[in-house]
């Protein structure tokens, strides 16, 4: 009886990755600590005065979110590539795009979601008006999955290389700019009480676009990298 259930495979990959993340807790916590530390650098470097921090807060939080996602991206395929399980995944009847989607969801749950939970605290650090906090969470909720999806392409392209880290940021950061521009601006606009629906719609559009195209590109890149 030959029956292959896609959802069973998707859930299997997802739960295995979450289990692995739990077992290697340090790899999960480090990017979050990095996120908090980077944000605390700015008041020390620029000035503790509320007026100054308030204008910079949205940009600082979003740039820190970008960098911490970049830090945790490497983990998505690197260990699987080294111990051969990436080859098993690509050889299994499960289509590679589904494998990538499962991996990206696991990465987002472990790295993107915690950013969402800590961001309000950092908003308070940087004197972000409380009116802007909901928008901050909304933009992070829409933006961080895009960071994981587009990041997956970069990781898939560099997984075969020995020192992929620096190259990964060069490949991925230019592609992150639209998310950064619209998200940071949305938070700043809501801090001034302006309407932010336009920016959020754009972020939603980016999310849909990357949901549909990024797995294809990442799957093709994986096939080439393990060549």
């Amino acid at each position: 009886m030959r029956y292959f259930s896609l959802s069973k495979a998707f859930m299997a990959i997802l739960s295995r990755d979450l289990l692995l993340a739990l077992r290697r807790r340090s790899e999960v916590v480090n990017p979050l600590l990095f996120f908090v530390i980077v944000v605390t650098l700015f008041p020390l470097a620029i000035s503790p005065s509320q007026a100054v921090l308030q204008t910079l807060a949205p940009g600082i939080i979003w740039v820190a979110a970008l960098l911490s996602t970049l830090l945790s991206l490497e983990r998505m395929f690197r260990s699987d590539f080294e111990d051969g399980s990436l080859e098993q995944l690509l050889l299994s009847p499960c289509p590679p795009t589904v494998v990538v989607l499962a991996k990206v969801l696991a990465h987002w749950l472990v790295s993107g979601l915690p950013l969402l939970l800590i961001a309000p605290l950092l908003g308070v650090f940087l004197a972000l008006p409380t009116a802007a906090i909901p928008t901050l969470l909304f933009t992070l909720a829409l933006g961080t999955p895009v960071l994981s999806l587009v990041g997956a392409i970069g990781v898939a392209l560099t997984v075969g290389l020995r020192r992929g880290g620096a190259l990964l940021s060069l490949l991925v950061l230019p592609l992150y700019l639209p998310v950064l521009i619209f998200a940071a601006n949305a938070v700043a606009a809501s801090a001034d009480g302006l309407a932010v629906t336009g920016q959020l719609y754009f972020l939603g559009g980016l999310l849909l676009l990357s949901c549909s195209l990024a797995p294809l590109a990442a799957a093709a890149a994986l096939k080439i990298s393990i060549h």
Binding site: M1, A12, C94
Partner: protein, 204 residues
């Protein structure tokens, strides 16, 4: 079952071999010999579809493996140099994961597969505790959890102790007798009946 036409492979820009015409019928085991670096591993990775051949085509049951990768991937299992075992997970968890990804419901379940290789005691130990030989046996027990008809095994006997080698040889016999095919590279001389045992010498 497995047929290649004018198959050629490259590594970097070095041509490993070309014009290879293979024919492997049901129930046959093909053992590939050759010096190190003559392209044995590359050939195996090409046969199972991981690597793209430089020239030529590969047919599994008269269908080009490049055309419908999904049905071919349900019928092939590849065990390479890397075991494909996550060190943080236990042997049982690794095998349950492999089972979830395989297309069929085999007659063995995880505990029986591990018992077959004498790993019952290590079922719930994290893989990094196991020795290389034990990890290899966990990887090989994946063969029991899958009804794939084509086995592509790269040096399966390395790091195995004597009785595990015996277990592995029996598995090869059973698989061949059930009409499956095996492509295997090994410096170990496998005691097989001549009618089902094919040899291929690679390299100059």
């Amino acid at each position: 079952m497995l047929r290649t036409i004018d198959l050629g492979c490259e590594r970097g820009d070095r041509i490993l071999f070309s014009g290879l015409n293979l024919q492997l019928n049901a129930g046959e085991i093909l053992q590939i010999h050759g010096a190190n670096g003559c392209g044995k591993t590359t050939l195996l990775r090409t046969l199972c579809g991981l690597t793209r051949p430089a020239t030529g085509k590969i047919f599994w049951q008269d269908l080009d493996i490049r055309d419908d990768e999904s049905t071919f991937s349900e019928d092939v299992i590849h065990i390479g140099h890397h075991d494909g075992i996550k060190h943080e997970l236990s042997a049982a968890e690794n095998l349950h994961f492999a089972l979830a990804l395989s297309a069929t419901t085999p007659e063995f379940d995880v505990t029986q597969a591990l018992a077959h290789f004498g790993l019952t005691a290590q079922t719930h130990l994290p893989a990094y505790v196991l020795s290389a030989g034990q990890r290899r046996r966990v990887a090989l027990s994946r063969l029991l959890l899958n009804n794939a008809r084509l086995w592509v095994l790269d040096e399966p006997f390395t790091a195995l102790d004597k009785d595990s080698i015996g277990v592995m040889e029996d598995m090869l016999h059973q698989h061949a007798s059930k009409g499956g095919c095996v492509v295997i590279t090994s410096h170990h001389s496998i005691p097989l009946a001549p009618d089902i045992h094919r040899e291929l010498q690679l390299g100059t």
